[in-house]
């Protein structure tokens, strides 16, 4: 009986995780190194990877900054009522509960070219939907809870006594944050950042809806894989997928390391 369960677990694990990765690697190299390199060296691939990289960098910076700020406010601010805090706290989880495609759709409905807001921005010369800003907003929406959910519990756990002690010793809010709060939360922030990068790199649904998947313009690595599969260009699709998978694995290893550091203090 026990063997059966172990066997079943291993089977599910390999069917879900191991075999697809091997299959992708095999698919990428079915024409040898040449096919793999050709798939990656196409100008559309390079542009798509560049878009993905750009989105990841911007989203990670914005998300880390505001994620940490929001966590601080939600845990520490005395000027926010408890009811308001609870409300905000539950709204933070909204992206977890809502499908990314719906999230993207919300952005299109709110900021699309046909809407008042969208038209306003359009007049000012800024395209939001079917352009980079919309894709960044969509990815931000999807990744927003990741940093907050990592940092908030730790802030709650360490309590405010150390920060109060710093204040009575004459430290300004800024000094207190950098010298007292930050050392306690930094590994959680790193963990949250790694999760954000991984999620931003792999985001598909929300980005597809808001980007329109326009070649050489708003196409990201994931949407290019989708298009290549549609066009039966499987070798190229597998090559890009393999690059993305390799990136994710590296991040996961980084995450394990961050996790072990987090437990030290």
């Amino acid at each position: 009986m026990r063997r059966l369960w172990i066997g079943l677990t291993v089977a599910v694990f390999s069917v879900l995780l191991i075999i697809p990765v091997i299959r992708i690697a095999m698919g990428a190299f079915d024409e040898g190194w040449g096919g793999f390199a050709r798939g990656l060296a196409r100008p559309e691939t390079l542009h798509a990877l560049y878009m993905t990289g750009l989105i990841v960098v911007i989203v990670t910076i914005v998300n880390t900054l505001f994620g940490v700020m929001l966590s601080l406010y939600l845990v520490r601010a005395t000027w926010l009522g408890n009811k308001v805090k609870q409300l905000l706290n539950s709204i933070v989880d909204l992206p977890f509960a809502v499908s990314p495609v719906i999230g993207g759709l919300m952005i299109v409905l709110l900021l699309g070219p046909e809407t008042a807001l969208g038209a306003l921005f359009n007049k000012a010369g800024i395209d939001i939907v079917y352009a980079l800003p919309g894709m960044i907003i969509a990815t931000l929406f999807v990744t927003f809870p990741l940093v907050v959910r990592e940092v908030m519990p730790v802030l709650q756990e360490i309590g405010s006594a150390q920060e109060e002690a710093a204040a009575t010793l004459g430290a300004s809010a800024w000094t207190t944050f950098w010298r007292v709060t930050w050392p306690s939360i930094r590994w959680c922030v790193v963990y949250g950042v790694v999760l954000t990068v991984a999620r931003a790199m792999g985001e598909f649904g929300a980005v597809l809806v808001v980007s329109g998947n326009i070649l050489f313009k708003t196409q990201t690595a994931t949407t290019l894989v989708y298009q290549d599969v549609e066009n039966f260009n499987l070798t190229a699709a597998n090559s890009i997928a393999l690059v993305l998978a390799a990136g994710s694995v590296t991040l996961l290893l980084l995450m394990e390391w961050a996790k072990s550091r987090r437990e030290v203090h």
Partner: protein, 354 residues
Amino acid sequence: MHIEVRGLNKKFGDFQAVADVDFEIEKGQLIGLLGPSGGGKTSILRMLAGLETVDDGDIVFHGKRVNDLPPQERGIGFVFQNYALFKHMTVAENIAFGLEVKKWSKQKIKERVAELVDLTGLSGFEKRYPHQLSGGQRQRVAFARALAPEPQLLLLDEPFAAIDAKIRHELRSWLREMIDRLGITSIFVTHDQDEAIEVADQIMIINKGRLEQKGTPWEIYKNPESPFVASFIGESTIIEDVSALRGFGGSGELPGTKALIRPEYVEIGKEHDFELLSATETGRVRHIHFRGSEWLVEVQIGAAKLVTYRSLEKEILQPGDEVRVLIHRAYLFNDTNSWVMENKLKEDPMPVHI
């Protein structure tokens, strides 16, 4: 630092944490804020530190109103209940923090840290992290850290609560000595009356957000101004009908008057132990408890039950023994008044002069 507090009020939602508290503290004194948990002591301390906003009233340091000053600018040192040491900094770094923030020179910081490490007996522990220290050592680091920037006022929130009983005694006398040596005005919060009585120059009894009484430990013990203070300081039993006790006849004229009698007001013994038998009552021993250094005896007199101490050197009593009981005094109170009454029969009515 001379401190004055006038009409201090603080509410948390609907809960009145501090209500109309007034007091004044002379420079260099060590004050104990004593009272039951949740009575508002810590709120008062935190308002003095600027960690809590004041709803109403004034806090005046050295003749200057500080209500709107942030904690950074009040020139105080605060020792937190659980020390709140910076856990990722070593002992030396913890102590140096306040000095670095104030931009002291490297050399001066080094000297000051060495001085405080020496003063608090932490030599050899400078490089340790807080989690590598014992409770007593952490407490001393917290103390050194608070003192480092040379504050004018030291505030301590339940400084010994998290330390085991034996070390607590040592630390208490150490703290007292240290504060005497530095001459710094200090206020500490405690719910432990022994601690307050032993350490403080003056005690302020806080109950339900109100200041019940302020005075030296001896004054508070001797002349409690309210039934709460009388029952909170020392051990005591409440007697409903005190006029039934010998020597206190006629005291129950006012309806609703009750008496509070401390164990040390009561003496028990055999007939030959007393010179004035007429002032004593007959009672019966109900229980005896060994208290380590003395006996605690419960004795029944009519309907009243009293407790008293008895020296271990004296003859050991047994439950059921008949004894003579002398009540020296009682603390009487009713809804409006409270007063101390001595046993009227203790004065020999017919002194024999030889």
